[in-house]
Amino acid sequence: MKAKVHVTLKAGVLDPQGKAIGNALAALGFKGVGDVRQGKFIELEIDETDPDAARAQIEKMCVQLLANTVIENYDIELDR
């Protein structure tokens, strides 16, 4: 099974990279761009075929390694 994990900064955590991207977009002439936040996208192949078990396993991976839960949220998406 394929899984997609999005890791994003929690609301309120300063994201200077997102801000720099926003400034660069404005410099390119793109108007009307509000807040820009940068995150990570991780794609995983796992052997587990049961969706509930897969989600539980990836949840553990997120807490233990993929995200730093002090500052980051994670979102798991399973591809069946």
């Binding site: 200077p16 990279q17 390694l65 730093n68 500052i71």
Partner: protein, 228 residues
């Protein structure tokens, strides 16, 4: 004083700290590869600066989950002094041995230059060689040194005297924060002050040829406290 330096793939200040420790103590530290799972009897463990595992995922993230870190955490929990410098500080926060996180510098630039810090607490084996509020000139070299924690945690660190070093300007005023760190924090202790993480590199300020010797008192203080 018997010490060990943990070496990760990508560590690059491991030899610098080894030289600083050997000069102060007269004994070369053991260099321990990250794949090891046990540690000898030690008085001090050091996580050196560098770019362990290329800073993949997050600075210190992969190193914090490497085999040796289980043994390191076990010793630290028993009270063996543990020092993390720069990338080593990042490994400590990623291991939850110290609270908070080190984020990208506020100015988005890698900074490599001498800065000034004030000694915020001398009540530890690491800082007892300094005077309270002593101003030190020490190099920094980092891209992710912007210390962040929840306001309640910052209050706790300050309230319990667990801030070890604070950035300061060369004239001693508060306006010397190079990376945006909350409350000018450059280094913190754990609750028992036996774990210290700091972004500046004291091991790069131990010889006049380095341009300064303000790091010496840390290592001589450690030897004075830990020599058997």
């Amino acid at each position: 004083m018997k010490s060990a330096v943990i070496v990760f793939p990508g560590s690059n200040c491991d030899r610098d700290i080894a030289v600083a420790l050997e000069r102060a103590s007269g004994v070369a530290p053991e260099m321990i590869w990250h794949r090891e799972t046990t540690l000898p009897l030690l008085d001090l463990i050091v996580l050196p600066g560098g770019f362990a595992y290329g800073d993949y995922l997050r600075g210190g993230a992969i190193a914090a989950r490497s085999p040796i870190m289980r043994a390191v955490a076990e010793r630290a929990n028993q009270g063996v002094p543990l020092l993390g410098i720069c990338n080593g500080f990042q490994v400590l926060t990623e291991s939850s041995l110290l609270p908070g996180v080190l984020m990208r510098n506020a100015g988005l630039k890698y900074i490599c230059r001498d800065i000034h810090v004030r000694v915020a607490s001398t009540e530890s084996v690491f800082t007892q060689g300094y005077a309270q509020d002593q101003l030190l000139r020490i190099p920094i070299a980092h891209n992710e040194g912007n210390y962040r924690a929840q306001e309640s945690m910052l209050d706790r660190l300050e309230g319990e005297g667990l801030v070890a070093f604070r950035y300061a300007a060369c004239d001693g005023s508060a306006d010397g924060n190079p990376n945006g760190s909350a409350r000018d924090i450059a280094g913190i202790f754990n609750h028992s002050r036996t774990v210290l993480g700091l972004m500046p590199h004291p091991e790069r300020a131990v010889d006049p040829a380095h341009g300064g010797t303000d790091g010496v008192a840390m290592f001589e203080g450690l030897v004075a406290a830990l020599a058997r």
